[in-house]
Amino acid sequence: MKNIHKNFTGVKALQAVDFSLREGEIHALMGENGAGKSTLIKVLTGVYEKDEGEIFLKGNDKAVAIHSPQDAQNLGISTVYQEITLCPNLSVAENMFIGRTKGRMQNWKKMNADADRILQSLDIPAKATQQLANCSIAIQQMVAIARAVDMDCKVLILDEPTSSLDDKEVQKLFGLMKDLRARGVGIIFVTHFLDQVYEVCDRITVLRDGKLVGEYEIEKLPRVQLVAKMLGKELDDEAQIKDETQVYHADENVPPVFEVEQLQSNAGIKPFDFYIRKGEVNGFTGLLGSGRSECVRAIFGADRIIGGKIKKNGKEIKITKPIDAMKNGIAYLPEDRKVDGIVGDLSVRDNIILAAQVLRGFFRPFSKAQANKFADEYIKLLEIKTASADTPIKSLSGGNQQKVILARWLLTHPEYLILDEPTRGIDIGTKIEIQKLVLKLASEGMSVTFISSETDEMLRTCSRLIVMRDRRKVGEISGEDLTQSKIMDTIAGGEKKNG
């Protein structure tokens, strides 16, 4: 790809970006949110048309024309997107073969058999006839990859494939990627996880603000420099980040603000106890599907509570739906930003004021001036990159969307903020900003529960961790015990017993 330009109304998403991919390599595409990674990929796959520039394939002198995803697919370019783009109400096999059948008649038996064979060869624990919606997000992701792999692709683009996978699944995926590399497939790997880049990639291309920063051999670019290049700042060491974000320890003598006794919801979690003090940052950790989200969803009333008590300052409160929790000063930033967080077509401003407006009441709408003031204030405070407050939130990058949702909840001035995977799929810079913000809020007296798939991040922010396994609370770690290995032990504890 040479000299690619792409403009959106008012925003130069890509400016003169070059990119090359060799046969049989894994090439990392890195950059902060809004750096232009997704845009570049969408140009390559025909989702967007480039304004300028040329794309060459396999050393041909003639530039290829890619005007639609179909064109890209015919050229052997397959993509697995960050957000899953399959049809949840179709079966796994149907999802794998949809849009690719040649004849008019569909041989269902053969299709299912083929699908099962592929799934087995990739070691994916799903059945061909299973409805996709019944699979976990991780499995859905893998089905999407299986689909791409089966399409005989020359170029496979993985856009944030690992953000919803746990370590084991990531390893499986890496095995698959290496296997494909050996077969001569070129893989473009977009991710925010530095470890993963250094684990599997051969080369790195870094983008920043729609411009090419450079293309590097992996051995020649130490991690620290990569971070510096992505951020456009000179960072001496990743460790510096850690130093800046000192874990705030709540006073042990402060009584809990919120207490939960034997809480149980209809989402299938076992009854659990929990408390949080004023100004404390704690977290739920555990593998994917261990029930960490379900716990906080129960506290917020997002799932139906079927047993147990919630107490605020020692007094029992009744939470049957989210508005009850909100009125008690609880805010919840949901795990799935696209489905539960953003209201896509509405402006950034409306998205920011939504929760505060609901709390304020139906008959007391914010005036336009007030709404604008709030929006401007939080756009500035959280450094949200948006053309204006009127821009629909769906046209923002993932990290900026997340900041808008965060602004929405901060505007309600909660006593207790629950952040469920706030840093998933967003760049390091924003991640650190969010972590810092969490600690700052806590030091100002807000209680925060932080959930993340990255234990690093949890260790950096939380003073106490609740460990979940198989939808059950299996331990609580705090103080000196709060180390990576101790967490791993606790998470894995039961498996040893079972095995």
């Binding site: 489905v339 967080g341 409306d350 139906f362």
Partner: protein, 363 residues
Amino acid sequence: MAKTRTLQKKNFMDIFSGKQILIPIVALVLLAVFNLIADPSFYKITLDVNSAGNHVLSGYLITILDYGSELAILAIGMTLVTAASGGQDISVGAGIAIAGSVILRVLCGTNSRPDHLQAPIIVAFLVSCVVAMLFGAFNGILVAGFKIQPMVATLILYTAGRSIAAWINNNELPVISDPSFGYFGGFIPGIPIPTPFFIAVACMIVMGLVMKFTSLGLYTQAVGINESSSRLNGLNPAFIKFLSFVILGLCVAVAALIKVSRISTINYSVIAKDIEMDAILAVALGGNSLSGGKFNLPASILGAYVIQFLTTTLYKFNVKSEAISAYKAIVVIILVVISAPVVREKFASFSQKMKVRNAKEVG
């Protein structure tokens, strides 16, 4: 005072910068130009004396203003239902039959041809409002509570509504002789402009105030765009949807008053026939997505008048009433295709390319 005026001015400009309103405006201009070329007498307005001895304005434009107003009232409710539920209410015509029948029933009491009214008109109207809102609530419960697709849910009343309307008056056709009842669908003595227009303006003002002094607009759009997210922000999506159907019920009652007032009686099988389709078209012509989400009320209202403009134009050219639907369909297809987001995007990218090309030539 001065402050509110500048505020209104600003909002007015906002609407135009939003582009969406351009769709019905362009349609209106096209129709207007067509009529101007085909027969300028279309625009003739005369001051006549009607059968009641009043001086009233008459002409095609007045007809549009008159009949477009009832459609505009329905378009308000239909826009909200569309935005919140992502579907449409097709029982509006049947609902008008029911509400109209209720008005007549209350006014006539037991006698189908009373010499004088058995109850004040306002009472009859309020009773019909309650009934129409109850039927709206029925639709709302099916859609919001039982999660039935709006078109399917409202199909029930669409089928049964006119029978219910006939049953309310024991299948008799009551006639109101009191002239004051005719004011709502006709003219008030001394005012040469048809009353439905004033009623529509009143509805628009009320709706404008509701939009300004409540969060209905924000809530409705949020629910229509992302129900799951709305719930996690403390909204009750089911209630918002339910509310939109109840509001549409109120609009139906107002339209019913105009309808039965026009002829001072009712024809159960004909009254407001197919009006739901026109109301839905008004919403679509206003550039609103029929699958819910963002909406623009002024655009819908203007859309309603444009639909009526079209109907009147067709009548003017002596298109038989049976054939009118076919002609309307053709025009509507064109309008809706032009206003479809896909086509609009194409237009936008095309005009941008032209701009770029021009800029290059200049450079």
